[in-house]
Symmetry: D2
């Protein structure tokens, strides 16, 4: 057995050195966080391994956009599944808007009057929808021709400004999925056009084949989940159907196992489903994602440069 | 100000009387639960009001199926949005399978060998997929013709055995939505057919128009969310776009506000988005859904009989 | 393996019947709650067994006082450990004050002006301290002579009004412990007298011997923890030192295992410490205590009448 | 309003620079963590201000010992309140033992056989009690003469090995309190001596006067709480009685407000009690302490060197 070596810090300490020190302590959530970095490092370095990244939560309003772009532009991830909300907020910012620092105890009726939509303590200007609507309207013809959501997002990435998640995935050839895209601002903007009688060809089931093929053809798979949700589950079921289930796994969420829901379910549970290999290296970290992701990304940059 | 009257219990006490006593205490989660029942009672009795019910979490494996059917068959709800998992588990049971009582510390590798998939402490026999696959195969032609997910689920309800959620919604003319249906066992079974070269016509965006129309044409709306997720968010955005946002709201979840995600966001936040009316009656209950739902349904049966 | 039988409810359903139905479902927190009632029922009926009850959290401001008195007056519990806060709030109410129904979003500066101290959504009038101070002053001589906290609380119970927790424990010969009594309003009132130069004889360690003797001389022990804290840990360490560790265990808390703290630690962990017998019947229920305690007490009244 | 500036990381990034970047994002728990560092920095630099530090949770088994010593030895804190468990584990390590890296799914019956007590995923060798018992026995005469818990811990600090929390507090003249000291291994070792007929003079209420005097004579106070518990509440009530309540506040815990308990109560609530000044700078951070404390201490070392 390894001793718990107490974490030591010093002036000018680097993030990666702190993570290494947390790993030598090796217990509690600090130890699990350090293990998460080790597992991701190994998975990324493993040439045979495809990393499936599932991203939920309000990560763009939470200031995480550049870190997500780091994962994509460094090609640390091979497949991405996310929520429509993150794509909407990201596209909105690229069209000229920002999120603002508020707090969770603000007067919501007052915010409405002033034109801000609150996301916990982050504020989105409501007029973001104006430019989003125009963007979708201007590009509706091209978008509507795509035959499934993965293709839709690829086309959106081609059309979207630089430095967006969709564009970065497009440029890096990283397949991007979003099963519940209708459940987002982008979905609403599509509705706005459809409500005027326009048509789309985007099939709800069709890209399942693509993600399952990606899992199926993978020699080795890794899964990295931030905040559970549909992105996690969509990857989990691709793993389940694949002959080669996940050999590496990292989950970051403060959702609880006890509710029985998929978001908080421990990765271990996936072994019974054939989603996770019983010999896999995996860890569940119970930590806020807006703290975990910067730490992880910063440490990975040191290790993978 | 009203006093906190201490809760009193006695032999043979009825559930509804306990809820009333919790309401007289009026504080902590017991007080909030009692308020939730009052709000739902009022919303259901309000003839002008449409109740939108969002259901996530592993509710069928959690033993909640009959209670969900109560909500539907009593027509207490007018619109339902749920996850593919609940529909899959429900359909699976109707085809002859059961879930079994396990525990969260079981050996998952052992469970896999024995053919059980673990959902926290509930066990699903893995061969449920055999009959599911046959069912979808046999009905693929009819299902594949539907033009959006809402229609797909209506057709599925028509074809499914009695006493399923989909069938109950179908018979009671309750529109049922599931934006992330691809992210479920039903989705996987559809993939199985599509992988063999079959085609579907199910559009990913198309039923957005329907749920927004339902919200738009509602004189008064109520929202009832169990466990957040896509079902909550999909209803929330229908409220957001509607001129008449929600006047009643009940949310049951143990997810946390602090992660910034939609599932744990307090209903109050919706006021800034125009999802919740600032004069609405609403309450957030931080309680496990498998305990909350039986209590609520039982009390409502007394009050609405 | 036992099937998950779906919970069914009907008009006029009794609480105990609902708990029985939850037990037949047997999964998720509803199943755990039902198991908790079964275990407590068995422990109480077991003539050889001493039940140690640890109570933390704001249970008196939360409307739980009568239920705690039920546990005591029915002699379902044999030993009680609690926090000073619960005893302070209870004594305060017995001197003529009430708690009031507020909400967690009230303006705290405003409340201060109006003389209310907020406990989540329960409000305590600040002038409760006036009568508390007088009560402690009038009884200081008798209280100060007691030689440890257990004796102090026994004397306080003798002197306190009827229908208080301390008085009920006194009358029913149930030893009552409160290791951190100084950390409470009662402590502050004692300080008020000591600050004027008075002395007490109350020893900080002395009653440890008494609780360990109670555990040591018990043929069989049961533990029942609400909300963790010092009360749980104080009982746990009595179990640890006893040759006969706990054979029954019920824990109700929403605190998390992941922080590593004692409050959220699973009962299973106690096996490694010799606190819990490895053959014990025990269950951890992740549920709000203000909902769990009324349900449990109500069901027990039916079963133990 | 300030924009949410997305967090950026780079190879070799220092912890403090990451915290600064989190502060520029300024939202979610990352933003709150950065604010916590700013507030602590300001409180520590404020010459008039006394910082009261409340420490609960399994911080020594969690590898946090050196960081706690940093807070003490740099005199960043002026008063400390903690749990007996942390002092016990720390003293145990100083007598030659270590904690070991385990995991939360280990077989507890097996661990018992092998002589390890589990604390989530940290393992304490059970024979730690042997040397602890000897240490307390050898020093019982001196310890037993002290007249309250604060004095007891000061004497213990004088007698304890270098590099312990108690010794560091002693050498730095930082008053150390532990209201529930009986509820710990040190308490048990005292019981071991008392059970043999020895006596102590340690009063349960007596040091309340000392902490209240410390708060009363403080021109300005700051509070820093890790993991709630009795340490938080004991400081809170000293603030409540003081004419000058807290002007700075930082709380780190994953406990929830919704249970109504003191540990998870938001700092804002303290305004109604006169514990927190309504003009105070304060923040609640919902984050695991074993990750938060290293980050905070590391950043403070850069800022306060």
């Amino acid at each position: 057995m390894r001793k718990v070596e107490h974490i030591k810090v010093y002036p000018g300490m680097k993030v990666n050195d702190l993570i290494i020190s947390m790993g030598k302590a090796g217990v509690m959530q600090a130890g699990k966080l350090a293990l998460a970095v080790d597992i991701l490092e190994e998975a990324i370095k493993d040439k045979e391994c495809k990393l499936f990244f599932g991203l939920a939560g309000a990560m763009v309003p939470g200031g995480m956009k550049e870190l997500i772009l780091d994962l994509i532009n460094n090609k640390w991830i091979d497949v991405m599944v996310t929520t429509g909300a993150n794509l909407t907020h990201d596209l909105g910012e690229s069209l000229g808007y920002n999120h603002y620092q508020g707090n969770e105890n603000m007067d919501d009726a007052e915010l409405k009057k002033e034109g801000y939509n609150r996301i916990y303590d982050s504020l989105m200007p409501n007029d973001i929808y104006v430019k989003l609507e125009n963007f979708i309207k201007d590009n509706f013809d091209e978008l509507s021709k795509t035959k499934n959501i993965r293709e839709f997002l690829s086309k959106l990435g081609e059309l979207a400004p630089e430095n967006t998640i969709v564009n970065a995935c497009y440029k890096n050839n990283i397949p991007l999925f979003c099963p519940a895209l209708a459940d987002s601002g982008i979905g609403l903007m599509m509705w706005g056009q459809i409500a005027q009688g326009k048509k789309t060809n985007v099939n709800a089931f069709d890209d399942l084949k693509e993600i399952i093929d990606l899992a199926w053809t993978s020699n080795k798979s890794a899964v990295f989940y931030l905040n559970g949700g549909v992105p996690k589950n969509y990857i989990q079921q691709a793993m389940q159907l694949s002959p080669k289930n996940a050999m590496y796994g990292v989950q970051i969420t403060t959702d609880r196992e006890e509710s029985g829901g998929s978001s908080g379910a421990k990765l271990k549970e996936g072994i019974s489903w054939n989603k996770m290999n019983e010999k896999a290296k995996f860890v569940d970290v119970s930590l806020d994602s807006t703290v975990a992701l910067p730490l992880i990304t910063s440490a990975l940059k040191d290790r993978l440069k």
